[in-house]
């Protein structure tokens, strides 16, 4: 579905991502994890065409994304960032309706078909009851759901989520990720997301990509990727890993930092 082929990305002459490759199959949930500043979000920005890679290609169903039209890209992919701002007095319905614009030409108005899709997106995200409410009046979880509804009304094949849970409390985090999983299962929507929480990544993803210093550290199923060595190498944390009894997904218990006071790493050899 989507192939990232050895891309490098530079920010003002500084190389942030180096020779990075991975691919995503249709209907997969892939999480990108890694420490702060490792380049996770940069990769998502490159996929959503906000940054152009200096080297390498990103292909969507075999076509280089830089050759796709902007609106065409918008019909295929939709990216949501960790925090979005809408004008204070915009209603949920109006926000969600903007998702239809990539499907419209510049003079076209919303047709009945578009309105049906908007209603459907509201229903899917459980936002129908809030449709006349202003975005500013919603709680963090509700507003994130409103933005996901907008993404849904765009009807993308791939949903890109940049830390969708960062500003939410744990129950709202859970709610958003459950919704993502539901969309994936029911509509076969491909999801690529950047997550901070290792357990969430492990629980909700088919595959995980670990990024460290702009390079791919490892990639695979949660069982393959989530190892004590990976956590020690990438996050400098000691941990225990056991398995969730129901679904056999690894569960990580962080113990302590491998760094001693003064910032000198105990296991520098690693």
């Amino acid at each position: 579905m989507l192939t990232v082929d050895s891309i490098s990305i530079q920010y003002e002459k500084k190389t942030v991502i180096q020779d990075f490759s991975f691919s995503v199959q249709e209907g997969e949930i892939v999480s990108i994890i890694g420490p702060n500043g490792s380049g996770k979000s940069t990769i998502l920005k490159a996929i959503s065409r906000q940054l152009a890679p200096s080297k390498g290609d990103i292909k969507l169903q075999g076509v280089n994304i830089s050759k796709l039209g902007r609106k065409e890209t918008a019909r295929q992919m939709c990216m949501l960032s960790q925090r979005n701002t809408a004008p204070e007095d915009m209603t949920v319905y109006d926000l969600v309706s903007y998702g239809r614009y990539p499907h419209k030409r510049w003079f076209e108005k919303l047709a009945e078909k578009d309105e049906k899709i908007i209603e459907w997106a509201l229903e899917k995200t459980n936002m129908t009851q809030f449709k006349e409410k202003r975005i500013a009046m919603l709680s963090g979880g509700e507003s994130q759901r409103a933005w996901i509804a907008m993404a849904l009304s765009q009807q993308p094949k791939i949903l890109l989520l940049d830390e969708p849970t960062t500003y939410l409390d744990i129950s709202h985090q859970h709610e958003v990720l459950e919704l993502v999983q539901e969309l994936n299962r029911e509509m076969n929507m491909t999801v690529i997301m950047v997550l901070h929480d290792l357990n969430q990544a492990s629980y909700y993803s088919n595959r995980i990509v670990v990024v460290q210093n702009g390079k791919k550290q490892s990639c695979g199923t949660p069982e393959q990727v989530m190892t004590t060595d990976m956590v020690k190498n990438v996050y400098r944390m000691n941990c225990e890993i056991n398995c969730n009894c129901n679904d056999k997904k690894p569960r990580i218990h962080l113990l302590n930092s491998t760094k001693v006071r003064g910032g000198i790493s105990v296991d520098k050899a690693n």
């Binding site: 959503s48 906000q50 039209g69 065409e72 960032s81 004008p87 903007y98």
Partner: protein
């Protein structure tokens, strides 16, 4: 619900503009009663004197105030969205003074090229806007403070050029003084016919700009996600805003504050959806400048205060009030 309420508010405001326009036609050294105005406008002439007063003096002036007010207000509303900044207005950002320098240069230095004034104003405004953008643009977009600072710099620079031109060409200055103060006095039909076509082009472009303006207000990332070329939209909308402001400068000189306060008033009344905010700004801008001009010519009659000065007197305190309420 919100939508139908807003539609009513916008319609009522437009109706108010028409009513005010008719009242303003009647006011002046010779009062014309409203029935006579209506008769002259919609039927054959009532009396020859009334016809002359209405069609040659009052009506062009009233229409000019309406058109210019609408243009500056739309320009301000668009700039506020494009720059993501509630302080962006053609005056504070220096667009107006950039256009004014260009117009003054033609008026004083090359009076034989008077017909190029609208184009010169547009070019001057574009240059000023480009300077503001290049000075205020930081990595994370335009910050309110840097826009104002860049505007101060451009305004100061333009003020210097205006001062220089005034001294070097002081013999030709009287013809330009009224224009510099933003006066609608004695403009007549020819100025009206000069700005009308440009304004109509600007208004039509504004209608097409509504959707793009709304999308750009969702933020650069969301806009590009919806398949829009954000930088291109920003450039095109800025050109439109400068175009509208420049036509006004070319016609009647510098009028401040309309572009700043009218969009705020409109936002207060109909919210931030440009589907309503833009027509509302248009109507309110027309209304505000008409009131400023009519007030200016009647309060101290037979003397006249230029509309630009009236706007500065009303606009300054309103600006302070906005700051106090920390709208920015």
């Amino acid at each position: 619900m919100m939508h139908s309420r807003n539609r009513v508010v916008v319609t009522v405001t437009f109706a108010l503009v028409v009513v005010m326009a008719i009242i303003a036609i009647g006011l002046g050294s010779v009062r014309v009663p409203i029935p006579d105005i209506l008769q002259a406008l919609f039927h054959a002439s009532s009396s020859h004197v009334n016809d002359t007063i209405i069609f040659d003096i009052r009506l062009p002036r009233v229409l000019l105030a309406l058109i210019i007010g609408a243009n500056i207000a739309i320009s301000g509303a668009i700039l506020q969205a494009v720059m993501g900044n509630p302080l962006a207005d053609p005056g504070l950002t220096g667009v107006t003074s950039g256009a004014a320098v260009a117009v003054l240069t033609i008026m004083l230095v090359m009076p034989e090229y008077t017909s190029f004034i609208p184009i010169a104003a547009f070019i001057g405004g574009i240059i000023a806007a480009s300077i503001v953008y290049s000075l205020a643009w930081k990595k994370r977009g335009l910050s309110p403070i840097s826009i104002i600072l860049a505007g101060v710099a451009v305004n100061a620079l333009c003020g210097g050029v205006v001062g220089y031109l005034s001294i070097m060409y002081s013999d030709r200055l009287p013809s330009a003084v009224q224009w510099m103060n933003g006066s609608l006095a004695a403009k007549g039909n020819h100025v009206l016919w000069m700005v009308l076509p440009y304004s109509i082009v600007g208004w039509i472009a504004s209608i097409f700009a509504i959707r793009k303006t709304n999308i750009i207000k969702l933020g650069d990332q969301v806009a590009s996600n919806l398949g829009e070329n954000v930088n291109m939209i920003r450039i095109l909308l800025s050109i439109l805003a400068v175009f509208l402001a420049a036509t006004s400068v070319a016609a009647i000189g510098m009028i401040g504050f309309v572009g700043l306060i009218v969009p705020h008033m409109a936002r207060f009344l109909v919210g931030s959806n440009y589907k309503y905010l833009l027509p509302m700004s248009m109507a309110l801008g027309a209304l505000v400048l008409l009131i400023a001009d009519t007030g200016g010519r009647t309060i101290v009659a037979p003397l006249e205060i230029p509309a630009g000065i009236v706007m500065a007197v009303i606009g300054g305190p309103y600006f302070l009030y906005l700051m106090r309420r920390s709208v920015f």
